[in-house]
Amino acid sequence: MTSIHGHSGDAQFTLRRRPTSEKLLDLGFRQLTLALASLVAIVLLAILLTVFQGSREAMASFGLQFLVTSAWDPVNEQYGAFVAIYGTLVSSILALAIAVPLGVGTAIFITEDLIPARLRELIGLMVELLAAIPSVVLGLWAIFVMEPAIRPALELLHRLLGWTPFFASTPQGPGMAPAILILVVMVLPIITAISRDALNQVPIELRQGAYGVGTTRWGAIFAVILPAAISSIIGGVMLALGRAMGETMAVTMIIGNSLNFDLSLLAPGNTIASMLANQFGEADGIQVSALMYAALILMLLTFTVNVLAQWVVRRLSLKY
């Protein structure tokens, strides 16, 4: 670009040529942000590679049998992660089964105008703050407060339903059931927050239309508002499932970390994450590799759930 000359000849305005240094700075800044952004992908890849590399020895020794055998025997170097995988799936799915009605119900309660707006905001704030409480503090609370408090209820459950294999053992402190309850506490804020946002985004016209044809409040909620928000809610539930599977500290502190398989929910159990937290520090040799293998399985589980969550949100979302 050359300078623009005025009509009379003498330059009144000139287009400044951008100095090379400025161009370099521009380019350099762009490349810097690009490099730092790609670090995210690199870290993710590095996590996968590190865990995969670490688990190769165990993969070679135990193969897919690792997934279905329940021996965890450091003395004879025999490892199988079935107990932990089963515990991970059962604890997170049962926790979700309790947390979803609670969370969605709470979200509906604080998006409807049943109580004053101030109070609704307060409930929303409290649920959000619950998410901020560190997991290890919830674990401490679970050990010393929650578990002793619910034990009579669990004993009652054992007396009434002890004939089924799921409640066959007497509750003796740490176990699967208290772990499930503390997981409920941990995923509740996620489900509530996402459902609340989803419900808030439903256009007001849909609700007005429903009221216009004469439905009741809950008729509108069940037939119009929930279906309109369902994709985001399901996405949130899946995210919560991923979180529940990977949740470590509170579960480790209250699940009992048993290495033996037990169908009973009142007996101590184990999850992949709590097994890692408990054994990784002291493990050596092929045990480290077996733990890495378990970590890889956990990663794949949470990855699948999270990707599915994103897919659900994109695929099922209604276009208004």
């Binding site: 400025e22 700075l25 800044f29 762009r30 810097l32 942000t33 690009l34 730092l36 952004a37 790609s38 995210v40 992908a41 993710l44 996590i47 590190t50 865990v51 590399q53 670490g54 009605p101 609670l102 119900g105 309660f109 604080i110 409930i123 409290m126 649920v127 703050l129 619950l130 901020a132 409480i133 560190p134 997991s135 290890v136 503090v137 919830l138 401490l140 609370w141 050990i143 407060v145 506490v185 009741t216 809950w218 909620i221 995210l239 979180r243 599977m245 990977g246 470590t248 502190m253 994450a273 890692l276 520090g281 480290v288 733990l291 890495m292 990663m299 990855f303 759930v305 999270n306 994103q310």
Partner: protein, 308 residues
Amino acid sequence: MTHSKSISGSDTTTDTTLFDRRPLNFDPRLRRNRLNDLFSFISGLFATLAVLPLVLVLVYVLVQGGRLISLRLFTQLPPAPGLEGGGFGNAMLGTVLVTLIAALIAIPVGVAGGIYLSEYAGKSWFGQLVSFANDVLAGVPSIISGVFVYGLIVASRVFFGQSYSAMAGGIALSVLMLPTVIKTTNEGLKLVPNELRLGAYGVGASRYVTITQVVLPAALTPISTGVVLAIARAAGETAPLIFTALFSAFWPEGIFNPIATMSVLIFNFAIMPYEAQNELAWAASFVLVMMILAANLLARWLSRLSKI
């Protein structure tokens, strides 16, 4: 009511109407209205149940931990098993140090990544890849980040032959912070009206100047909200630290040695069979929860300041 009853009966003596004649006044005894009340009650019950754990946890942490708070907690070292007294001064210092390391790594990288996604990437495949990787990284369980850093740094002893170290713990935490910082930066920058960028270009600013002098300051509040929340979350994390930063009964000895942190102290002392240790765990929980709640309220206050 007696009057309405005669109308609501389906007497088809006159011309056939399309709808049942129902009274227009509200009748709470109708099945639909009773169901309506029932569901309102259930949702209220659920909301109460959802709030209950927070109240109970806070009450216990305040009562059990608050009554133990004294100055010695912050100045003394944890006692040996079986002994009384002591504090967690080293763990407080350790938490600050490890979180600081994590923040110093995650904030520059995360803010730059967010800038790239919002300002440069557009809809390019690479931008979408980074976005996707970020979402996946956000879903990676925190314990996995510990396993990763253990494999990468602790087991390979890259830092001067040291295995467990505050540095390793900080890096593990930064992996967890990164996705939050990137996401909030990206979303904060997207909220900045495009007119601001065009205005800056219009007066001759380069892209670099536009981003650093105009766009970034405009999005400062949402970004700092995200950063504060990420730091608060990292300060409470335990799982990535138990086999990277490990624990230490002594004052911090530099960032390349094992270090005590509040969260690991709570974990270790909660499962010990000694009264003194359990009490320290409660007191440490009190301090940690207060710090984290304060950070969260600060973040909420910051987000209220937002002008865009």
